[in-house]
């Protein structure tokens, strides 16, 4: 059923979806759970002027860092970009716009965008520069700032396992922004590490129902990099 959602590779899955000056959401936290194959296909496409909505900007040469190298990104909507040196250079040279959002506000804006909620109120950022130019109102004795829902032309998502209907599950902290972005893309394209038939994932365990997924590629055994390898020594018995 719905075999039509499966595409042979990232380039095929993105075909017809990319245009200059578009908005793209990309899942991931740091470089954990990023849709790396799909980002590389965006890079290969040469599309320019992208507004990228992503918690971070990857690291140099990895994740969205690839699109920074090729100068395909015009604007980032993120919460933290400290790991990317190229980002700093392009920003200071005025080649890159940045809109910083508190991480939770960014997450909720995306969740709201996917859920048909155009605006909501939050305490986060009241009394800071984040609230400047936005409506602030008192509700039941506390002050809240109004934030807007976010959607994207295309959402790029990385999942652990998916069936051909588009039902998805995620693995550990690689979940992060992926399921919310899946709901907020006008078209959502997913790379899955394990592609299975419908019925192979327990319906009570599905995190993203297939309705949110329009296109799927199978990326077995992706290279997963670690940004900060921290370990403890084994204590000999």
């Amino acid at each position: 059923m719905s075999q039509g959602k499966i595409y042979p590779n990232a380039a095929a899955a993105l075909s017809g979806l990319l245009k200059n000056d578009m908005t793209i959401m990309a899942g991931g936290f740091g470089i954990c759970g990023i849709p790396e194959s799909l980002i590389e296909a965006v890079s290969a496409s040469g599309v320019k002027g992208i507004t990228a909505i992503s918690n971070n900007a990857g690291i140099d040469g990895v994740g969205l860092g690839v699109l920074l190298e090729t100068r395909q990104i015009r604007k980032m909507i993120s919460s933290y970009v400290g790991e990317n040196k190229l980002f700093a250079q392009q920003y200071l040279a005025g080649e890159l716009e940045i809109e910083f959002n508190p991480q939770g506000t960014l997450a909720e804006r995306i969740r709201a965008g996917g859920a048909g909620i155009p605006a909501f109120f939050t305490k986060t950022g009241v009394g800071t520069s984040v609230a400047e130019g936005k409506e602030v109102r008192e509700i039941d004795g506390a002050r809240y700032v109004m934030e807007r829902g976010l959607v994207a032309d295309v959402a790029l998502v990385h999942a652990w396992k998916g069936d051909t209907e588009g039902n998805l599950v995620f693995r550990k902290t690689a979940r992060n922004f992926n399921p919310l972005m899946a709901t907020a893309g006008k078209v959502t394209v997913v790379e899955v590490e394990h592609l299975v038939e419908p019925g192979e994932i327990d319906p009570d365990h599905i995190v993203t129902p297939g309705i949110y997924v329009q296109r799927i590629i199978h990326v077995p055994d992706p290279t997963k990099r670690i940004e900060q390898r921290t370990v403890r020594k084994r204590v000999m018995a």
Binding site: Y80, T105, R171, L180
Partner: protein
């Protein structure tokens, strides 16, 4: 000498209570996890989508899909649960986390906190800090008392704020202050570190504060 970083972390750990859900920031706050009293059930939340974070993995057992908000490899515990970033910050914003311990550049006597940007320097972003200080029930700042001999406890922050009237307690290498962030009680010095004096603290603190009765 006052308190070392380890002693500061140990002091902060005294703010933990059995059954608490706690978010620890990057830097000195991370050390607090080493001082959770044995037998006390404390679950650590990591805002990238995990409750019940475990220690660093043994060498060779790192998992790229299992990191904390500092992007460090960690492990899971029997109590662990994973969830999305939206659900993680619903937890934070909704006031379900008992305690947030985080670093700061400046704290004002009314509880204002600045820890995310210095005008003129490259801005990295606020990450989850604004959400944490706005949403978590109790906010404890763990920081050096001074930066390059400049006081960090001020009448008013001059750096851009992370949150307005959000800090409940400040633990520095010189002592512990409480802040009546929603009332008129202001800032109070409640503890003095070993190896320092009321006079030294007074000299190094720009904020106005009262000294708790009996303190010397």
């Amino acid at each position: 000498m006052a308190w070392t970083r380890e002693e500061m972390a140990a002091r902060a750990a005294k703010e933990l209570r059995d059954g608490f859900y706690v978010n620890l920031g990057i830097g000195i706050p991370t050390l607090v996890s080493n001082y959770i009293p044995t037998g006390m059930a404390v679950q650590l939340q990591s805002e990238n989508g995990m409750l019940g974070t475990g220690p660093f993995p043994y060498e060779g057992e790192e998992d790229a899909d299992l990191i904390n908000a500092g992007k460090q490899t960690i492990t899971e515990l029997p109590t662990t649960s994973f969830f999305s970033s939206a659900d993680s910050f619903a937890m934070i914003r909704g006031g379900h986390i008992d305690l947030s311990i985080l670093g700061a550049m400046q704290v004002a006597e009314n509880g204002d906190l600045a820890n995310w940007m210095i005008p003129g320097k490259m801005v990295k972003g606020m990450g989850g800090a604004m959400d944490l200080v706005a949403g978590v029930k109790r906010v404890v700042v763990l920081m050096e008392h001074s930066a390059k001999n400049e006081p960090k406890l001020l009448p008013k922050c001059d750096l851009p704020l992370t949150g307005a009237q959000v800090v409940d307690m400040v633990i520095t290498d010189l002592g512990v202050f409480t802040i009546d962030k929603h009332g008129k009680g202001g800032m109070t010095l409640v503890e003095v570190a070993n190896g320092t004096t009321l006079d030294e603290i007074k000299a190094k603190t720009a904020a106005h504060y009262t000294v708790a009765p009996g303190l010397k």
